[in-house]
Every structure is written in structure tokens, then in C-alpha cells.
């Protein structure tokens, strides 16, 4: 409030400072009168005591104080009233007056407010001393208190009534003579009703000008109403039946009648909070019926959410203890869903984000309480999609008479865009079922339709969550249809948006633009975005490992499907997504081969059975044979047969597609495929793969380090292959050796030439499939020495010499006939010479150590009895 300090607001109550002054004056009176009251009490002067009490209580007649200050005054007086009550009790016990007489006497007080405070006090005494049955006294008190209709004064008087009678309410545990639990709750209900009415009325009292301030004041006072409901919940002997038949209907009647936004919100909430959850389940329909009738400004969403949260927690807690707490006679989901639907339908003012939040809460409830009811989930999703559609569809134009101009709403009319809030909520809504359902989301027909209302970027976020859930759940995906559905939902992860799709979402458009620029190398993409992208794609890639099937053919079909979906992903995605697919297929191929054999066997068997059926041998049962033949045919027909070759073809296609963008990766995969093909003895295929490797190497690898790496893996791969025909192997190895020798850097050349030598000696001659050509090994090593010799940096060439020496030693130990001890001795001599000429320094000492270790190895060999003879002639 504004205005000069201490001034009285025009027409309203005084301001805070002045309020405090008034309160302090009142405090003084209260203390003075309290003092005299005690004095009179000491003298057992009943008349004086009550007179002073009346004087004191007259302070509560003030209209000057706002509820906040009035409350302070009230609390001050409350202390004195406790003293007064004890005096009354003592006075009655002394035999001077009966409590009933006091009850009558105090009613002579002319002013109603003091009179009723005294009456309540006296009534409390009557009940304490048991002079009259509690239920009679309570009835009279609650009725008489109606005399105070002033909101503030009435509220506090009723509070005094509540606290004075708190421990005197008859309930199931009390003597029937003082009343039954029915009397108990009827009293509280009546007092609650009156309190509530006064509280609501406070909103319409214009002593306080600002509506907002009145609202605030009322909010501060709400406990005065709430404590009544709280008291009801704690009355012993109030069972479900009483709650359902009497208490709840009565409270709800007040809720409906008061037509006050704050009261409705607060009461609905407190009902949920104070009564036990099993009561709520028993009265769910009753309670929910009221919800749509609440005032427009009441936030029914929070009410329903609170209820659902409580109920679901209750159900879950029950399940932990092995108890099913969902009611069997009512379908709580149906009841809640109906209410939600009604609320949405009837509250035109309800904003879409609110609706979506509500739907999400309902969905959460459903997921918690009915985790198996996919139909419920589907229903919610479907309804949400419909609601969004309705809300976004432009309202049909209306002519002067209020009739729609067009009979049918135009389906092509542009729809309003979802607000950011709404988008967020839809996204949340779609994420709710993911954790629990993961793959089962695919069974929700409506999931996709709701997903489609989201802009691209948000769909992508949902897709990420879905992917994570699916991976965490780690359930196998085993049919093509599921794959299609899943990838349908994951579309935003699998490909870039089309221009239209991107246009609908500015952030997606931007992301796309940036991706395009970064692909051209013009700007470096935002690092976060890049790392997100990578994380997402790696997630998608992991899905591949969930694809499983007992039937190899089936699995292959699934991989085909997957490749098709991944194929739309563009260059940026395939490096992540296609690689695991290749490896998965490589794993599958041996099974495909087995299946192929199995199919062939079945075919034969079927043919044999058919033949047998057509020309039955003597004594055979023609019918049984025919049947067997049919069964064999049927089994054959039921199989999805993919020959293993198809598998390699699949890989070939994928890798070839990847090669231009990711030559190194493609090269490795081809090599891997080659090994696999070789193992399964498809040497022609293995050869083809190797050919592809060379093509990539020759056409696409220009970086010298990459070339070295490629050659290393190629050599390694060739070492693993066992089944190549001699001439194929030769041509590959020769090519390899040439490439090694034509590397750009001499040290690389040197090392690779020495490495390629291994391909000429893949095992002892007695091992099957081994390639042994000692002469060419020697050629390689000598060539390597020549190359090393021309390396200019002396430290480098000595190092290379020692490396080559080690190669010699290896072959010498491997019994390669062409490698003799003279070569070793010669090389050792050479190294020693070079070492002496080296500049001292770090490089030299490193080489020296390397060399010393090598020599130590040789000396060791010379000293061992097994090898001493062989190494004897090596001059170290």
C-alpha cells in the first residue's frame, strides 16, 4: 500500500504502523484486564472474573486490525482464556456453581463476541466435567457461533471453538454416553462448513481494498479451514463407509457451493493430503466427478497430479510388500482418464501446455500402476495427438449469426505452430513411457502419430531417449517389422531433415546449415554439437547388436533392412552406423553358411521324400510318405535362405559405398572381410576383397602415414589368410612388396620392406598352406639394408640396421635356410662400425642400448645348450 506513513488508507483499514499501535494498545488492555482477572480469581469472585474477561474479550470486537494483527491479539487473549477455563473448573469443583450454571450465566453478556468466547470456554468446562453429554454441548456451541458473521472475527472464533473442543470430540474410542463418532464428525463438518464460508467471504469484504492483498491474507489463513478437515481424518472410527457416505459428500458439497477459486483449490488439495489413500481409491469416482465442475481458474491439473502421484506411490509401496492395492471394483485409470478428458473438453480456456502436462502425469500414473496396459498408454498418446490437432486447427470462421461459414473445417488450412512450452511437454510426454517400455513402445500405434507433431530437433531428442532406453533394456529385436517401426521412430537420428521438415523447425534448419558448411570445411562445427552428434550416432550403432534371430536367414534380412535405413543417413552418419553392421554381418556369415548347408540337406531330403512318395517301394505306407514329402517341402519353403555369398556381397556393397569418404575405415573392413572369407574358404571372394583393398590404397590413400598403417594391416591380414591359391597369394604379396618399396619416406620403406618379408615365410615348409620362400625373404632384408644405408640421418640408419638385425635373428631362429650366420656376423660388424662414428648424445645412447640388448640375446643363445651349436659361428 502506498500513502503517507501512518495515514489511514482511504476507506480501508489503517496501515501497518498504525495497526501495530492499535495492537499494542489492545495488548495493554488485555494485560491489565488479565491482571485484574487473576486477582479476582484469587478471591474466587466469579462476577468480577467474568466482568474482566468480558472487558478483555471486547478487544476482539475491533474492526481496525487486519487478520495478521488480529491473529496476534487473538493469541495473546488465548493465554488468558486458558487461565479462565481452569478457574471455571476450580470454581465448579469448589461447589460454588455448576458448570451448566456458568454456561447459562455467561450468556448474559450483551456483546456477542465476548459472549461466545465465554460460552465456548464454559462449554469446554461442561464437557470436561461431564455435566452434560459432549454431543449436546458441541451441537449448541457450533450453532451459537453462527452469530458472528464477520469474516475475521468469525474465523478466529471458530478456531477457538476448534481448539477448545479438539480433545472432546466423541469418537469410536469414547464413552457412548458422551456421543458417537457420528456426532463427532457431524460437529467438525458443520464447523468446517461455517469456517469455510467465512473464509470465502473474506474475499468479498472490501475493508481491504486490494483484491490481491485479500487473496494473500486468505492464503495465510487457510489453515484455519484446513485444520477441520485434518481433524476429521484423525477421528477414530471414521471408516471408509462413513467417509464415502457422509464426510466426503459433505466436504465436496462445500467445495462445489462456495464457488471460490482459492477454497476449491485448497480444499481439493487438502482432501487428497489428509485422508488415507485407500479412502481415495474407494471414493475415486465421487471425488473426480467434482473436478470438472471447479471454477475455471482452479488449477485442476495440479489437483489431479497430486492425486495421481499419491495413489501411484501407494500402489507401488503396496507392490513392494507384495500387496496389490489397486481397487478391483473400479478401474482407476478409466476414472482418471474420463475426468481428464472432461476437463480438457469443458475448459476451453485451458492452455495446451497445461493439457499436455496433465496428459503426461496421467501417463506416468498409468506407467506406474498399470505397467502392462499398453492399450492405456496408447489411448493417452492418441488422445493427446487428437487434442493437439484440435487446438492447433484454426477455428472455423463464424458469420454474423454465429454459424460456421464452412460446413467442414478445411483440413489444409494452415495450423498454428506449437508453442515452445507445448513442444517441451510433448517431448516429456513421449519420454515418460520410454524407461519402462523401451522396445514395447513399438506396440503403441499412436506413439508415432504423436511424435510427428514435434519439430525435427525435438523428435531427435525423443529418438535419443528411445534409443537409450532400448539399449539399456537390451532385449533382442527379432523381426523385420519391429525394425521398420523402430527406425521409423528414430528417423531424425537416421537422416537429415528434408528442407520442408527443417523449415518447420528453425533450430533444425540451423543445425543442417552448419553441418553442410562444416562438410565443406568452411567452418568448424560447434564442438558440442559435433560431440552430441557422435554420441547419438554411436547409440544408433549399438542397436545393431540388439538384432538377433535364431535363423541366420532372418537375421540377414533384418540387416538388409537396417542397411537401407542407415543408408539414408548420408556421409556423416554411415561412418558410425555401418561399421557395426559390417561386423555383425561378418559374424553372421558362418551361420549363413551352415544354414545354406542345412537347406541343401533339406532340399535333398525333400526331393528324396517326394521321389519316395511318387514311387513308393513295396510295403511302404504311401500316405505317410506323401505327408513326409509335404512336410519336408513346407519346412524348406518356410526358410529364408540366403547363401553366405550374399552376405559377402552385402558387405561389399556397404564398404564400397563408404570407401570414398572413409577410405581407411573401408580398407580395414575389407581386410576383415577378406580374413572371414578366407576362413570360410571362399578364396575367390577373399581375393576380390583384397583387390578392393588395393584399389582403395592406390586411389584414395595419399597420406604417407596412412599408407604405412594400411600396409601394416594388409600384411597382418595376409599373414592370417591360409586358403589363398598359390598364384593369388603371390600376386597379392608381390603387389604389397612393391607398394612397400615405393613408399615416400626411406625409413618407412625400409621398415615395410623388412616387414613384408614375413609374407614369404608364413610357416615351416611342413605346415599346410604355408608359404616358404627363403630366397625372397633374404632379398627383402638385403633390400631393406640398402634402403637403410641411404638414410641420411646417421642415428636413424643405425637404428634401422639394428631393427633389420633383429629380423635376421628372427629368421635365423626360424630356420630359414637362406639366412645364415655370416649375414648376422656381417651386419653386427657393420653396426659396430657405424656406432663408433656416431655423435655422442641421446640418439646414440638409445641405439647403443638397443644394440646391446640384441647382442645380449645372441650371447644368451650361444650359451644355451639347445641353441649353442646353431649360434656358435655368429661373431658378436
Amino acid at each position: 500500500m502506498s500513502g503517507p506513513k501512518g495515514a489511514k488508507a482511504p476507506g480501508g483499514v489503517p496501515e501497518d504502523a498504525e495497526q501495530a499501535a492499535i495492537r499494542d494498545r489492545a495488548f495493554k488492555t488485555v494485560r491489565d484486564k488479565g491482571f485484574y482477572l487473576r486477582q479476582a480469581a484469587d478471591e474466587s469472585d466469579f462476577k468480577s472474573v467474568t466482568d474482566h474477561a468480558v472487558e478483555m474479550l471486547k478487544e476482539l470486537r475491533t474492526s481496525e486490525l487486519t487478520p495478521k494483527f488480529y491473529y496476534e491479539l487473538y493469541m495473546e487473549i488465548l493465554n488468558e482464556m486458558r487461565y479462565l477455563e481452569n478457574f471455571f473448573v476450580a470454581f465448579v469443583n469448589s461447589g460454588a456453581k455448576s458448570a451448566c450454571q456458568i454456561y447459562e450465566d455467561v450468556q448474559a453478556t450483551r456483546e456477542i463476541v465476548p459472549r461466545l468466547y465465554l460460552l465456548v470456554t464454559a462449554g469446554s468446562v461442561v464437557m470436561r466435567l461431564g455435566e452434560r453429554p459432549n454431543h449436546e454441548v458441541l451441537k449448541d456451541l457450533v450453532d451459537m457461533c453462527k452469530g458472528v458473521q464477520h469474516a475475521t472475527r468469525g474465523l478466529f472464533l471458530r478456531n477457538y471453538l476448534t481448539i477448545s473442543t479438539r480433545d472432546k470430540l466423541p469418537d469410536a474410542s469414547s464413552d457412548p454416553a458422551i456421543g458417537t463418532v457420528t456426532d463427532g464428525y457431524n460437529f467438525v463438518l458443520q464447523n468446517f462448513g461455517e469456517t469455510n464460508r467465512l473464509w470465502v467471504r473474506l474475499q468479498h469484504q472490501h475493508a481491504i481494498k486490494s483484491k490481491a492483498k485479500r487473496f494473500k491474507i486468505r492464503q495465510d489463513l487457510r489453515m484455519l479451514v484446513g485444520q477441520n478437515i485434518d481433524r476429521l481424518s484423525r477421528l477414530e472410527g471414521v471408516g471408509v463407509a462413513e467417509y464415502k457416505e457422509v464426510i466426503l459428500p459433505k466436504i465436496l458439497e462445500h467445495v462445489t457451493k462456495c464457488r471460490d477459486m482459492l477454497a476449491q483449490s485448497y480444499l481439493m488439495d487438502i482432501i487428497i493430503q489428509v485422508f488415507p489413500d485407500d479412502f481415495h481409491f474407494a471414493t475415486l469416482v465421487q471425488f473426480l466427478e467434482v473436478v470438472p465442475t471447479l471454477k475455471d481458474r482452479v488449477n485442476v491439473r495440479t489437483i489431479l497430479e497430486t492425486l495421481m502421484t499419491r495413489l501411484s506411490a501407494y500402489v507401488l509401496a503396496g507392490r513392494e510388500g507384495g500387496e496389490e492395492r489397486l481397487p478391483t471394483d473400479t478401474d482407476s485409470f478409466a476414472a482418471l482418464n474420463d475426468t481428464v478428458m472432461r476437463v480438457i473438453e469443458e475448459r476451453a480456456s485451458m492452455k495446451l501446455p497445461e493439457i499436455l502436462q496433465l496428459q503426461a502425469s496421467l501417463l506416468e500414473y498409468c506407467m506406474k500402476c498399470y505397467p502392462t496396459r499398453l492399450d492405456y498408454v496408447n489411448h493417452i498418446l492418441g488422445m493427446t495427438a487428437t487434442v493437439i490437432d484440435n487446438k492447433l486447427r484454426p477455428k472455423p470462421e463464424v458469420d454474423e449469426e454465429g454459424n460456421p461459414k464452412e460446413a467442414e473445417p478445411n483440413p489444409d488450412a494452415p495450423r498454428a505452430a506449437l508453442s515452445e512450452d507445448a513442444i517441451e511437454h510433448v517431448e516429456h510426454l513421449l519420454s515418460v513411457p520410454l524407461d519402462k517400455l523401451a522396445l514395447r513402445v513399438l506396440q503403441l500405434a499412436q506413439y508415432g502419430s504423436l511424435l510427428e507433431v514435434l519439430p525435427w530437433e525435438n523428435r531427435r531428442a525423443v529418438a535419443v531417449s528411445l534409443t537409450r532406453a532400448v539399449i539399456d533394456e537390451a532385449l533382442p529385436i527379432s523381426d523385420v517389422e519391429a525394425i521398420d517401426k523402430l527406425f521409423g521412430l528414430l528417423t531424425p537420428l537416421l537422416r537429415d531433415p528434408t528442407d520442408d521438415e527443417a523449415a518447420a523447425d528453425s533450430s533444425a534448419a540451423m543445425a543442417l546449415q552448419q553441418a553442410a558448411l562444416s562438410a565443406e570445411g568452411e567452418v568448424s562445427p560447434d564442438e558440442d554439437a559435433a560431440s552430441n552428434f557422435e554420441t547419438e550416432q554411436l547409440l544408433v550403432a549399438r542397436i545393431v547388436h540388439l538384432l538377433k534371430s535364431d535363423e541366420a536367414g532372418q537375421l540377414h534380412a533384418m540387416y538388409l533392412r537396417t542397411r537401407r535405413s542407415f543408408g539414408f543417413g548420408g556421409v556423416r552418419r554411415i561412418q558410425y552406423t555401418l561399421v557395426p553392421l559390417v561386423f555383425a554381418e561378418l559374424q553372421l556369415i558362418p551361420r549363413l553358411k551352415e544354414a545354406e548347408a542345412e537347406t541343401a540337406r533339406l532340399k535333398e531330403a525333400a526331393a528324396a521324400a517326394k521321389a519316395a512318395a511318387e514311387e513308393p517301394e513295396e510295403g511302404a505306407d504311401a500316405g505317410a510318405l506323401a505327408q513326409a514329402a509335404e512336410e519336408a517341402e513346407a519346412e524348406l519353403a518356410g526358410r529364408l535362405a540366403f547363401p553366405a555369398r550374399k552376405g559377402f556381397q552385402f558387405i561389399h556393397e556397404i564398404v564400397t559405398a563408404m570407401a570414398p569418404s572413409y577410405p581407411e575405415v573401408a580398407l580395414k573392413m575389407f581386410l576383415q572381410a577378406a580374413v572371414s572369407a578366407d576362413r570360410l574358404a571362399y578364396t575367390d571372394i577373399a581375393y576380390e576383397f583384397m583387390t578392393q583393398v588395393f584399389i582403395i590404397y592406390e586411389e584414395m590413400l595419399s597420406d604417407s602415414r596412412a599408407q604405412v598403417r594400411a600396409l601394416q594391416t594388409m600384411i597382418g591380414t595376409m599373414l592370417l589368410c591360409r586358403n589363398f591359391a598359390e598364384e593369388d597369394f603371390d600376386s597379392i604379396v608381390t603387389n604389397l612388396a612393391q607398394h612397400c618399396a615405393t613408399l615416400l619416406k626411406k625409413p618407412d620403406q625400409c621398415r615395410m620392406v623388412s616387414m613384408v618379408s614375413h609374407l614369404f615365410w608364413t610357416g615351416q615348409p611342413d605346415v599346410e598352406g604355408a608359404h616358404c620362400d627363403g630366397r625372397r625373404v633374404l632379398e627383402c632384408l638385403q633390400r631393406a639394408l640398402k634402403i637403410a644405408d641411404v638414410c641420411m640421418a646417421s642415428s636413424m640408419n643405425v637404428h634401422l640396421f639394428v631393427e633389420i638385425l633383429n629380423c635376421y635373428i628372427y629368421y635365423f631362429e626360424s630356420e630359414v635356410p637362406d639366412i645364415t650366420d655370416t649375414y648376422l656376423s656381417g651386419l653386427i660388424e657393420l653396426i659396430k662400425e657405424h656406432l663408433e662414428n656416431m655423435e655422442p648424445g641421446q640418439a646414440r645412447s638409445a641405439v647403443q642400448t638397443f644394440f646391446a640388448n640384441t647382442i645380449a640375446h645372441l650371447k644368451n643363445k650361444q650359451s644355451l645348450p639347445d641353441t649353442a651349436a646353431k649360434f656358435r659361428n655368429v661373431a658378436v
Binding site: 452469530g147 468469525g154 467471504r201
Partner: protein
Amino acid sequence: MDLAPAGVLETSATYDFAFPDTWKEFESYYGLNVTLRYCIRVTVFRRNYQSSIEHDEEFAVQILQPSPETNPPIKMEVGIEDCLHIEFEYDHGTYHLNGCVEGRVYFLLVRIKIKYMEIAVIKRESAGSGRGAVNESETIIKYEVMDGVPVKGEIIPLRLYLKPLPLTPTFRNIGGFFSVKYYVNLVLVDEEDRRYFKQQEITMWRDELDGSSADSK
């Protein structure tokens, strides 16, 4: 009634007397303009022209009445058009002096800002007749029965114990000379201190002797 024959009274003497057949038709009453007293007068007549010695000893008469055969409630609907409309009800029309006025007020329409409501018990004494008649009203008690503004549909209880109040039975045309009547006045006061009221007569009767009222002389 002669108590003693003429003679000389030298010591204290006690004389019994009785007025068995004297009809005390009316209750004692001490009002503003009217007093109805009973007394026993002792007169000692003296010889010659000396004045007689007289002494009055006053006593109170209270007349117990039978309870009324029927005692219907008072019900009434009053109002000011489009402004205030109430219905009030007193449980009875006749009360004994230790009784209790109980009733309730129904608010059917409230368009004024009521500050409070009270009931007042009013005693009206009228004496004399014709042109010389005197009327006097006295408010015995004002008793607040409601604080604040009720809303439509509100029912406010009324209860007033009569015992502590200085009341007499209703007297109607005593000796053709005076009457004492009682009224309950229901008053509504609005925020501008305008008063809206309706007065109803109630009849008072005595059902038991009341020591305190005799003392109150």
C-alpha cells in the same frame, strides 16, 4: 380489623391478625408512573384530638399464573423491497419470568451492509385513560445477537435468558387504569448506522415466586 379494644397499652403486646378473605387481585408493581403497593397498616387511635399513630408495613404480592394453554411461536416475514428481506421466529409468544427467548432469524435477501443485529426487550407502561393517559417505554436490555454481514440463506440463532432481567408479568388494564406490556425489538444496524427494526409483543407470566424481585424494592 380490630385487634384490641380501647384501653391503655403499657407493655409490649403481640396481636395476631389475619386477612383470610382479602382478595389480592393484582401483583405489586413499582413502575415509572404507576406504583401498585400492598401494605398492612396498623393504626393506634388515640383519645382527644391527638393524631392516631400509624405504621405501614409493605409486602409484595406475586401471583402465580397457570401456564398458557397454547403458546404458539411468533413468526414473521419482514423486509424492505430489494434491500432486506428476513424472516424471524421466536419459539413462543408467552414466556415466564425465568424463561428464555429462543428463536432464529433467516436472511432471505441482504443488500445492505449490516454491521450488527441486536434484540432489545422493551417495557411499555401506560397509565390513565383518555387525554391524561401517560405512556412510558423503557429498554430493559439491548442484546447483540449478530456481528457482521450475513449472506443470503444464513440462519442466525437467538437466545436470551430472561432470568437476570428486571421483568414483571404483563399487566393488562389493571383496575381499568394501567397496563404493562413487553416487546422484543429486533434491530438491524447498517454501516451508516441506519436502524431497521421490528417490534413484537411478548407476554410475560409468573410461574414461580421470585425472592429477588421482592428484594428489589
